[in-house]
């Protein structure tokens, strides 16, 4: 009852001094707005990253040959940075087909697919297929049979690769319906068997089309367009030859595990298998294996850390804002000393005076907070849109912001309010 009355009094006071109120709130507005904007951007990036990783396959493991981490041998001798020369990767350091076969037989219950890919042109290479004046943007990637299967392509016409495409490294390819729409007037059947030419920074690659798949837009892409960059797939061996990858072994591959497999545990087993059986006598290189889930976890916690650090910096401006509120409350109380005296003469207790001014400071901070939230959501959304992602506002951060601005109101309003409450009634009344 007293609260609603106090809120009305506070609002009337703010309205009477709009400019002053706004300037007072500015610190709070800026503080809350930056926290909310940071949270919105961070939240959106987290969701985007997770979605992208999910698309890549949440039950994936990434395995690869990497230089041994130094700390085993050198840490006890102290500083060893740049100690010397690292032996270059040789064929004998790579994972051979025999090792891989041994591994997949050993863990056939855990492994669903072994994905081998060889990029010829990624989205940054501006690869194109041209016909007359029109051209289609493409990525060009070599896939092994498992990787192609894992893509789970929906074929519109033609076929995927068969045994001899891989074994003989045929120059065959599978293209998207979007590419056919653009360059071959959507004639999905008659394009089969035709030769296309892909231009990648001055190099030409020629393939025969054997199949057309239905293009599915990525969950997070840089805006929808009628000329999306679509993938052209070629056999893994073909891609290796064309990129002059003459290594006799494999440096990186992805593993898709079965549903029952615990990826984090399995990653350790994979490491142990290779490192004990094949790499124990290798002086420089070893096999590392990390699960997508643990990568996602560490990515998420990294984003959260950055978010937290930035928010703490932004929160400092909230403290500055709070001090501004405290300052204006002290001014307001001095201005209204006579009013306080009158209220006391009319029977206001110290408690009700204190409540009145704390309410007033909370109202200032809350209004500032709400303006800040709106500004922060706006700015954050704009920034995320500018980066080309979908904005995801963090509801949690809004709730926290509202709570936090009220807390600032109470914290920085308490001292002035208490000062007002403790005024001697007659001194307050006589104040000129």
């Amino acid at each position: 009852m007293l609260i609603t009355e106090n809120i009305l009094v506070a609002l009337a006071g703010l309205k009477a001094n709009i400019m002053r109120s706004l300037l007072t709130m500015l610190g709070i507005i800026i503080g809350i707005a930056s926290v909310i904007a940071i949270m919105t951007v961070g939240n959106s990036i987290t969701i985007m990253v997770n979605q992208t990783m999910q698309d890549l396959g949440a039950n994936n493991l990434q395995m690869g040959v990497m230089q041994k981490s130094q700390n085993n041998e050198s840490s006890d001798t102290g500083m060893n940075y740049g100690e010397g020369y690292v032996r270059e990767l040789e064929d004998s350091d790579l994972i051979s087909q025999e090792m891989l076969d041994d591994f997949t037989t050993e863990y056939k219950d855990n492994i669903q697919y072994v994905l081998l890919t060889q990029d010829i042109a990624t989205r940054w290479d501006n690869a194109k297929v041209s016909k007359g004046n029109t051209s289609a943007n493409v990525n060009l990637q070599g896939l092994n049979a498992d990787a192609l299967k894992f893509k789970n392509l929906k074929m519109i016409s033609g076929r995927q690769f068969i045994g001899h495409d891989y074994k003989e490294a045929k120059r065959t390819c599978v293209v998207s319906d979007k590419l056919v729409d653009r360059l071959f007037d959507g004639e999905y059947d008659s394009v089969i068997g035709k030769e296309i030419e892909v231009t990648v920074s001055g190099n030409y690659y020629k393939y025969y089309v054997v199949g057309v798949y239905e293009y599915v837009q990525e969950s997070f892409s840089f805006g929808a367009s009628d000329n999306p960059t679509t993938d052209i797939y070629v056999p893994y061996e073909t891609a290796r030859i064309q990129t002059h990858n003459q290594n006799k072994g494999i440096q990186y591959c992805d593993l898709v595990t079965t549903i029952d497999t615990n990826n984090d545990e399995f990653a350790t087993q994979v490491r142990d298998f290779f490192n004990i059986k094949y790499y124990s006598r290798n002086d420089t290189y070893e096999v590392v294996c990390i699960s997508m889930t643990s990568m996602m976890d560490s990515m998420n916690s990294m984003i959260s850390m950055i978010q937290l650090a930035l928010s703490v910096i932004a929160a400092i401006s909230l403290v500055v804002g709070g001090i501004g509120v405290m300052n204006i409350m002290l001014v307001s109380i001095t201005e209204r000393t006579k009013e306080i005296g009158t209220r006391k003469a009319l029977g206001a207790t110290n408690g009700s005076i204190r409540l009145q001014f704390i309410t007033e400071s909370v109202v200032i901070c809350l209004i500032g907070g709400i303006i800040g939230i709106l500004a922060g959501v706006g700015l954050g959304t704009l920034a995320v849109k500018f980066m080309g992602y979908e904005a995801a506002v963090s509801v949690q951060s809004i709730v926290i912001a509202v709570g936090f601005s009220m807390a600032i109101g109470v914290f920085f309003g308490y001292y002035p309010a208490n000062k007002a409450a403790k005024l001697n009634p007659i001194d307050a009344l006589r104040y000129e």
Binding site: M1, V9, G13, T342, L346, S352, N424
Partner: protein, 242 residues
């Protein structure tokens, strides 16, 4: 009218700047008694200590020495919190400078003491309207203080003083800032409260004519009571008949 003592002040002293070289005493042992239902005025030169005495009577300030009971309550022993409740329930203040709360309407001003008393919203609005009607301000109840004339403000202030039906009304120069015709109007409201509702009223005034309208006139000089006389007032009815 009852014979019960409303105010009982014995040997009241009041000093300022206590413990400093500037220390000086304003009230030098004042004895002052008011019975329930009395209308008393306090007169005296400027600086004689009238307001100082009134502030002690109104429990806004504490005496340096002496004993004071208000309507049976021992004031020196009361805590700050209890004094707030006492001011709220038993005392109605009318100030020379009106002291209405700016930015809130006449109605809200009158409601204020009732709000502090914890009365419900509907109840206090009804009572505030009734009180404003009594002082002839009902048609202006939604106006803010800066939209009212001095006399109108003082009428709102009197309605506010009556909000919790106090035992005593304390008015420190309520007509001091008004012209004589408006002052007359305000005095008539006090007479009405006194005669029709039996309110105890203590009035400070610089006007000899207005003090003559009260039952007892106390003269204060340099912080002591110099004398007491009886007013010539015959009651509102007599004046109207004349």
């Amino acid at each position: 009218m009852g014979d019960n003592t409303m105010l009982d002040l014995r040997n009241i002293h009041k000093s300022f700047f206590i413990g400093t070289p500037n220390e000086f005493e304003v009230l030098h042992g004042v004895n002052f008694h008011v019975k329930e239902g009395e209308f008393v005025s306090i007169v005296g030169q400027s600086g004689s200590g009238k307001s100082t005495l009134m502030n002690i009577i109104g429990a806004l300030d504490r005496p340096t020495a002496g004993e004071y009971t208000l309507d049976g309550v021992d004031i020196e022993k009361a805590k700050d919190h209890e004094l707030s409740i006492l001011r709220n329930k038993k005392i109605g203040f009318v100030f020379q400078t009106y002291n209405l709360i700016a930015r809130t309407t006449a109605l809200k001003n009158v409601e204020l003491p009732m709000m502090y008393a914890g009365m419900s919203k509907g109840e206090r609005a009804d009572r505030a309207k009734m009180l404003l009607e009594e002082v002839g301000m009902k048609d202006r109840m939604h106006h803010k203080p800066d939209e009212l004339s001095g006399g109108q403000k003082q009428r709102v202030a009197i309605a506010r003083a009556m909000a919790n039906d106090p035992a005593i009304i304390l008015a420190d120069e309520p007509t001091g800032a008004l012209d004589s015709a408006t002052g007359r109007l305000i005095m008539d409201i006090f007479h009405k409260l006194h005669e029709e509702q039996g309110k105890t009223i203590v009035l400070i005034t610089h006007s000899p004519e207005l003090s003559q309208e009260t039952q007892r006139i106390i003269t204060l000089k340099d912080g002591t009571i110099m004398g007491e006389s009886t007013g010539t007032w015959q009651g509102l009815k007599v004046k109207e008949d004349a």
